[in-house]
Amino acid sequence: MHKSGKVLVMLFLLLLVFWFILPLLWLIITPFSKEPSLGISITAPTLNNFAEVAKARSALMAFKNSLIISIGSVILVVTLASTASYALSRSRFTGKNAIITLLLIFSSVVTGVAAMVPIYALCQRLKLIDSLLGVVLVFSAGFLPTAIFILKDFIDRVPTAYEEAALVDGSRGADLFARIVFPLIGPGVAVVAVLCFVNIWSNFLVPFVLIRTNAKAPISVAIYQFFTEVGIPRIGLISAYSLLYALPVLIIYFYVSKKYGFGFFGGLKG
């Protein structure tokens, strides 16, 4: 490459790096700033803004709601998806491939945006509006197809010899599944749980549409309400709260990408 060409490429890269990093700086600096504003003001670091979060009742409630929703959905998805994918992997019947293809199409076509109106209507009929259970069910249904795919792949790779040995030893049904198959697909379950948790934790649209009262809102909706409510938004509180909210996702991501490599999330988020 020519020298001038190399300099140009470097300048272009530098510009892009700034473009990527500058908006993020606010999240790192403002939560610790004494005069939090929409601009960047660097002062001696303080934890005042975090203290404000700890004092805000609605902020703490939202944290609890987010945990209930995410963990509840993860448990439901993992149990249902592992049993369903076991059945799909081990049994042979006509139309099996059709079911799998159908699931694939559904999971990509029925996005949150396309389904929000019918889901709302459905929840209205089931009296699940403004209920955490409703949100958990909607999330679980949305994640099941993807989870079943991933887990079926894992189960396909487990040799049936283990199950046959257990059968000979007199293990049956649910017991066989819980003691033999489930532990063998541990890594797959971890993948599904992590993906599911991160996506549900970050989701805004579903709870935004389904939850009506502030006391039941998860963090994503709470932050939105903090900055749309009348009066001057409490920027210090919002920034500190945003950082706390993003932290679990960041920690999980860096832990996982260190362990399994960068491409882990590829193709599955969205």
């Binding site: 601009g39 799909l88 029925v110 945006v113 109106v117 049956r172």
Partner: protein, 276 residues
């Protein structure tokens, strides 16, 4: 074996059935009202706001998914392939951060970044002698396009980077030895190798970008519907104006468009398998 099959398959299938009904119902529900009353459809097709939203959605996909995420991701992946080292970690690290932080938080980051009086972008511009611009009001579509490109480039970047890694370095080396310049190397050596992945990436990000709701958090679709992409239009008609029936027929149109993309994706996959 039969016993186990009955024991396990039955509960599993009941579950599967539940999972399916939930989704199938949404599908059927989305379509049924439009069969009962074609009026909703007619209204949508005669509503200028619908075309407005459709037009902005296409602009949004073209700008942020194709020109932004895919092209930028490809250029970045190519540059980083040659560079490696610190740069690579820095750029892909920043891109990934932008990609994984929850949407509400990134939306707020951009509201702060673009703010007219305090925002960092305007601070920098005014120190360069450019007058301050109220980005979200004066250029709402540009703002959400740039925002969404920023948000989603990581996916294309990671995908292309790993695709480039699979090309045997000897291909590129021998092209260099034979004196091929950069465009020649790209079009004759690299491009044929990553064509299939390029196609997959384009279809996927188009589908996702078409269905993204995050711009709502930045502009709320405004000012005066100037940045109202289709998902925000559906939300507005259904939950702000409470026209659930009408909203769901627009959803049905969106579902149909999505279905088209999914079919394209399946076809592309099948072709890829055949050539592999």
């Amino acid at each position: 074996m039969v016993l186990i099959a009955v024991f396990l398959v039955f509960p599993a299938f009941w579950v599967l059935y539940l999972g399916l009904t939930d989704q199938a119902l949404t599908g059927v529900k989305a379509v049924l009202p439009s069969f009962i009353g074609f009026k909703n459809f007619q209204f949508a097709l005669g509503d200028s706001f619908f075309y407005n939203a459709l037009k902005i959605s296409f602009l949004f996909v073209l700008g942020s998914a194709w020109l932004g995420q895919a092209l930028l991701g490809l250029i970045l992946a190519l540059i980083l392939y040659e560079l490696k080292g610190v740069w690579r970690n820095l750029v892909s690290g920043a891109a990934v951060l932008a990609w994984i932080i929850p949407e509400v938080v990134v939306a707020y980051l951009w509201i702060a970044f673009l703010d007219k009086d305090f925002g960092m972008l305007n601070q920098i511009l005014s120190s360069l002698g450019v007058s301050r611009i109220n980005w979200l009001y004066q250029h709402p579509v540009l703002s959400i396009v740039v925002f969404n490109a920023w948000r989603g480039t990581a996916f294309s970047l990671l995908l292309f980077s790993s695709a480039l890694e699979t090309i045997p370095p000897s291909f590129i080396e021998s092209a260099k030895v034979m004196g091929a310049n950069i465009p020649q190397r790209f079009f004759h050596v690299i491009f044929p190798q990553i064509r299939a992945i390029l196609l997959t990436d384009l279809i996927l990000i188009t589908l996702w970008t078409f269905n993204v709701f995050t711009p709502f958090l930045l502009t709320g679709g405004g000012p005066s519907f100037k940045s109202e992409i289709l998902p925000i239009y559906i939300w507005r008609t259904s939950f702000k104006y409470f026209k659930l029936g009408y909203g769901s027929s627009v959803s049905a149109i969106l579902l149909l468009i999505n279905f088209g993309f999914a079919l394209l994706y399946l076809l592309a996959q099948r072709r890829r398998k055949r050539y592999a």
